[in-house]
């Protein structure tokens, strides 16, 4: 067998894939040659001749080398993985985001007066709207569409779930960065205002009341997530075994 490895190295040359991977490929191909030669030997072919016959199954070594290099390094593989992820996750997630925000806009512009429920903060005396009921009622459809889209594209349960939950995940991301954006605005705004010759602008920052934040999280993150999940649930289950439909010929 070591002679097979030597022959393979001679034919393929240095692959430049890293010594470990290169060693593995040579070893694997060598095992294949060894099996092939052994099979020929059992049919009465002499050892040397059997090895030569096995080597002859590769018509062009340079072509094999290029094919291996292409398989190991080609950009298309990476592109394929990127495209695959786009198909199973990013596009359905974007679809869910677009659909949920369009629905929100449509409900507002259609004249349907949304039913708001108000919650008073006794500490600050402020009121916060909590539930945008028509939107919440429509969200299961969005969750179902996103999960089904991902499923049809070949996405696993986790991709379907993430695609369906894209709107609250996106909003959560926005809420998380919004304090920094607000802070940045408070730092930058006075500079522009002063440069324009206006009087000194001295904004003051107030920490938002905790009740307000909680209500915001529940009404725009938690409840939409539950509504989306309700719609996505039927499409999150694992499919039945895929091997049943295939029969190999006798």
């Amino acid at each position: 067998m070591p002679d097979n490895q030597g022959l393979l190295r001679q034919h393929l040359g240095k692959l430049g894939l890293g010594s470990q991977r290169e060693e593995e490929i040579i070893r694997e191909l060598s095992e294949h040659l060894e099996d092939h030669a052994a099979a020929l030997e059992t049919r009465g072919v002499a050892r040397q001749e059997a090895v030569e016959e096995a080597l002859k199954t590769v018509p062009e070594w340079s072509e094999l080398r290029n094919e291996i290099l292409s398989a190991e390094t080609e950009e298309a593989t990476m592109n394929y993985q990127g495209t695959y992820r786009t198909k199973i996750l990013w596009l359905p997630a974007l679809g869910a985001l677009t659909l949920s925000s369009s629905l929100l806009a449509l409900l507002q512009f259609s004249g349907l007066v949304p039913r708001f429920y108000w919650l008073s903060d006794r500490m600050s005396g402020a009121d916060y709207f909590t539930f945008y009921v028509p939107w919440l009622i429509a969200l299961p459809v969005v969750g179902a569409v996103a999960a089904l889209w991902s499923k049809r594209a070949g996405g696993e349960a986790i991709h379907r779930l993430l695609a369906a939950l894209a709107p609250p995940i996106g909003l959560l991301g926005f809420f998380l960065i919004s304090p920094f954006l607000t802070l940045l605005m408070y730092v930058l705004l006075p500079l522009f205002v002063n440069r324009a010759g206006h009087r000194q602008f001295a904004p003051t920052l107030h920490a938002p009341p905790l009740t307000g934040l909680l209500v915001l999280l529940v009404s725009w993150i938690l409840l939409p997530a539950v509504a989306l999940l309700l719609g996505a649930a039927p499409f999150l289950r694992k499919p039945h075994s895929q091997s049943s439909g295939y029969q190999q010929p006798e």
Binding site: E24, I25, R27, E28, L29, E31, H32, L33, D35, H36, A54, T57, V58, P59, E60, E63, L64, E67, I68, S70, A71, E72, T77, Y80, Q81, G154, E156, P239, Q242, S243, G245, Y246, Q248, P249
Partner: protein, 113 residues
């Protein structure tokens, strides 16, 4: 025996390999032997055509090669079907089924399905 075009061979090879590995993990030589046996020699993969395909499929995460001891006591690189690979099986079967149906309609080519 009628030769199969390399592109058809490559395309069908993916399905053949995935279908075989769906049954049990196999090493490269065993894969080529099984394909030849099952297809009556119509589809044949040798060292040059099989391994680039296997490496490509491994890069895509469809199969995973692991060095394991064979019955003979020799260490062989056995290919296992991954969850991602299993996912490819149904669409590939559907794709090839449609392909043969289309060929049947246009050229009267019968298929085994």
């Amino acid at each position: 025996m009628v030769g199969i075009d390399i592109k058809i061979k490559r395309g069908s090879g993916k399905l053949a390999i995935l279908a075989l590995l769906d049954q049990e993990p196999l090493h490269g030589y065993e894969i080529s032997k099984r394909i030849a046996q099952v297809t009556g020699g119509v589809l044949q993969f040798n060292l040059a055509s099989l391994y680039p395909l296997l490496y490509r499929m491994e890069k895509r995460g469809w199969v995973k090669g692991k060095w394991e001891e064979a019955k003979s006591g020799r260490k062989r690189r056995y290919y296992h079907l991954t969850r991602n690979g299993k996912k490819q099986l149904a669409p590939l079967r559907e794709e090839w089924g449609l392909f043969f149906q289309a060929l049947h309609r246009i050229a009267g080519v019968a298929h085994a399905g």
